[in-house]
Amino acid sequence: MQNNFFTDISLNHYLVLSSILFVIGMAGVLLRRNVIVILMSIELMLNAVNISFIAFSKYTQNVDGQIMVFFVMTIAAAEAAVGLALAVTIFKRFKEVNIKFFEHLRG
């Protein structure tokens, strides 16, 4: 059966969406200066990956991918907590949350 890209939602659609989100997130991480925005971008990247996990899980009839997503979400929460704590500390010290202040962490 011939699939129509615009009418039949298939695995490829999810993967394309996931890649687009991932690249947007990566661009945010690489280009933005604001630590909060960078953290949000990282979150975006993680969730882009989650989408592909779920998609593969659905299309291969295997729950492994879904389990993995739970792990990723847990890690993402922990990462956000640590990242925000760092951001708060940076802000307290420099009155700004610019990523360039992280250079001071260099040994």
């Binding site: 690489l30 990523i99 360039k100 992280f102 250079e103």
Partner: protein
């Protein structure tokens, strides 16, 4: 008591003494450290006496105490045990080492009492005794070599004992390096013997000794024994390696008495006597040994005449007497050589300790020109020294007479000897009488030339008791080896030493029947020469002290040459040491600095530069790191996709 226990105590007692004093080396308590060290050696002496009396109790041809502690090395055919054995030869040696050693330890306790390093000194001295016992008792050449190296180490440590004085430290190094040359030859000799016999065990080697003489100069046995002899020239200070011994006098005087007169320097003679079955089968080596011995005796005696330092005179005298011993073993008279080792240990240790007593009394003054007339200040030292003097110049019935006479007679009578060797020996004996009388005259007799600021005094009992014991031994020590000719005349006095050694010492092949009238004549000649020389010397240095100076002036070039020790040190410096240093310096400069060092520098620079490049990547900017990750991801993905 069980032999193995006695043997273990004999060997380990000095070692334990070394450990105790070595651990507490900082404490300057001379009574305690001296007491420990002396007791340690005295225990060894008691063990030696017990073992020796057991040896005497055995039947004459089975006298042997062999103790194997454990198997040391076992590689294919190469087997060495940590085993030790006492026979007639080593039995005498352990008695000398521990007996004379005890006396010298006792003397040292007083002599070194104001030295800060006294405990260290006794630790070294005990270590020396331990190593010397291993050298003497070891049942294989390798065990002997362990002791051989060990005594070399202790000799080095004790010569350079006052190492803050640069000259003394240098003297220690000179001894060590000169000995190393000999030791290398000793090793080569061991290799040759091992490849010939397939064993290093001394008894097995002696058992495998050929029954026919080896006449070739290049035969394996001749080469092996020759190398062993070169090793002996290093340790026993013979031409060409004798140069270290006179300098070794930089050490404390009791050390000179123990190591550089009585025990260590006789190790070479002992080694040859112990291996006598193979040495006697290599007449070429024996010839070389006899010639070197005679030359050394003559040369060292002539230098001894000109020296002004009391210890230097005794040092050259020691070299000369060692030459006698080599002359003896070189003509096949191993028993006579060992006999002289023993009597020499008594009278030379006595004279060195006597000189130590004098130096002590004179507040570290060693120049005999500043002595004289010490007889009335130091009667005991004088009289004991006097007996030593009679013994060394060979006046009957003192110890030196019998051993020296036997050597001279054998060098004439033995088929391996030669009248020329005898003549050289007699001339050296005359010189010995001359310089020893000179030493007596300048030190103890004649007018006092002692500076007004110095008040000589007799040494305390702890120093004079060893002197008295050694003096008694110097008088009676020779009576165990009274030659047959004298023994016969005075009613069948046996030659105890000759009988004692006969099972372990091979007889000289083709020895003719002794002609008694000839022997009396030769004995009379050497005695006459010695007495005349002693008398001339007495006349020169006591009656008319201006004559020696005049004679020295009239033959100034010769005198200068002898006084400067034939310029041998200078010759060695010119021909060997300086070229060696030059070449080493060139090699250091061209190969080490320009090549080896360069390689390491270039390598280091490369790594440093590489590190600089990668360091610049690590900026600390988190986003750039993230960029690296992204780039890496892209590259990895593209590789996967393109593939």
């Amino acid at each position: 008591m069980d032999h193995s226990i006695l043997m273990a105590v004999l060997l380990l007692s000095p070692f334990v003494g070394f450990l105790i004093n070595g651990v507490r080396y900082r404490q300057p308590t001379y009574k305690i450290s001296g007491g420990i060290a002396t007791a340690a050696v005295f225990i060894s002496f008691i063990c030696s006496v017990l073992l020796f009396s057991d040896l005497v109790g055995m039947p004459a041809d089975q006298r042997k105490i062999h103790v194997k502690f454990f198997e040391w090395l076992n590689v294919d055919k190469f087997k060495v045990d940590a085993a030790f054995y006492i026979d007639q030869i080593s039995g005498i040696m352990i008695l000398i080492i521990t007996g004379v050693g005890t006396l010298i330890h006792l003397f040292s306790t007083e002599y070194m009492h104001h030295d800060k390093g006294v405990t260290k000194y006794f630790a070294y001295l005990n270590l020396f005794i331990f190593n010397m016992l291993i050298l003497v008792l070891g049942d294989s050449l390798l065990t002997m070599f362990v002791g051989w190296e060990g005594v070399g180490l202790c000799s080095y440590l004790l010569i350079g004992f006052w190492f803050t004085d640069k000259d003394k430290a240098a003297a220690g190094m000179k001894a060590f390096i000169t000995n190393r040359v000999g030791d290398a030859a000793f090793l080569l000799g061991m290799f040759i013997l091992f490849s010939t016999f397939g064993t290093l065990n001394i008894q097995e080697i002696n058992g495998l000794a050929p029954t026919t003489v080896e006449t070739s100069w290049m035969g394996a046995l001749t080469l092996g024994t020759m190398f062993l002899f070169i090793g002996a020239t290093g340790k026993s200070a013979q031409i060409p390696l004798y140069v270290w011994l006179p300098d070794a006098m930089a050490g404390p005087t009791p050390v000179s008495a123990l190591i550089h007169a009585a025990t260590m320097v006789t190790a070479g003679i002992y080694m040859i006597v112990r291996l006598n079955p193979i040495f006697i089968m290599t007449p070429n080596t024996m010839l070389v040994i006899a010639i070197i011995g005679a030359l050394t005796a003559l040369m060292a005696a002539s230098i001894g005449i000109t020296q002004w330092d009391i210890k230097k005179v005794l040092a050259y005298s020691t070299v000369s007497q060692l030459g006698y011993m080599f002359l003896a073993v070189g003509v096949g008279a191993f028993g006579a050589g060992l006999f002289h080792v023993m009597t020499h240990a008594f009278f030379k240790a006595l004279m060195f300790l006597g000189s130590g007593s004098v130096i002590h009394a004179m507040h570290e003054e060693q120049d005999i020109r500043k002595m004289g007339g010490l007889k009335k200040y130091m009667p005991i030292t004088h009289w004991t020294f006097f007996l030593g003097w009679l013994a060394i110049i060979g006046i009957p019935p003192f110890a030196g007479f019998f051993s020296k006479d036997e050597i001279l007679w054998m060098s004439f009578h033995s088929p391996m000897g030669h009248p020329v060797l005898w003549a050289v020996g007699v001339v050296s004996a005359g010189m010995t009488a001359f310089y020893m009388t000179r030493l007596m005259c300048l030190t103890f007799w004649g007018k006092s030339r002692v500076p007004k600021s110095v008040h000589p005094h007799e040494s305390p009992a702890m120093m004079t008791i060893p002197l008295i014991v050694l003096a008694v031994l110097s008088v009676i020590g020779g009576w165990i080896g009274i030659p047959e000719v004298i023994g016969h005349t005075f009613g069948h006095i046996p030659n105890y030493l000759g009988e004692w050694l006969s099972p372990v010492v091979r007889p000289i092949p083709n020895l003719a029947e002794a002609d008694h009238s000839l022997e009396w004549a030769l004995m009379g000649t050497s005695l006459g020469v010695a007495s005349i020389c002693a008398f001339i010397s007495y006349h020169f240095y006591v009656k008319s002290p201006e004559i020696p100076g005049k004679i020295a002036n009239s033959i100034k070039p010769v005198y200068e040459l002898v006084f400067k020790k034939y310029l041998v040190d200078e010759l060695y410096f010119k021909t060997i040491i300086n070229p060696l240093v030059e070449v080493s310096r060139k090699i250091w400069y061209f190969i080490d600095v320009n090549f080896i060092d360069k390689i390491t520098y270039v390598l280091a620079d490369l790594i440093k530069g590489g590190g600089g490049v990668t360091r610049s990547l690590q900026t600390g900017n988190v986003q750039i790191y993230a960029m690296y990750i992204a780039i890496g991801l892209v590259i990895a993905l593209s590789v996967i996709i393109i593939k």
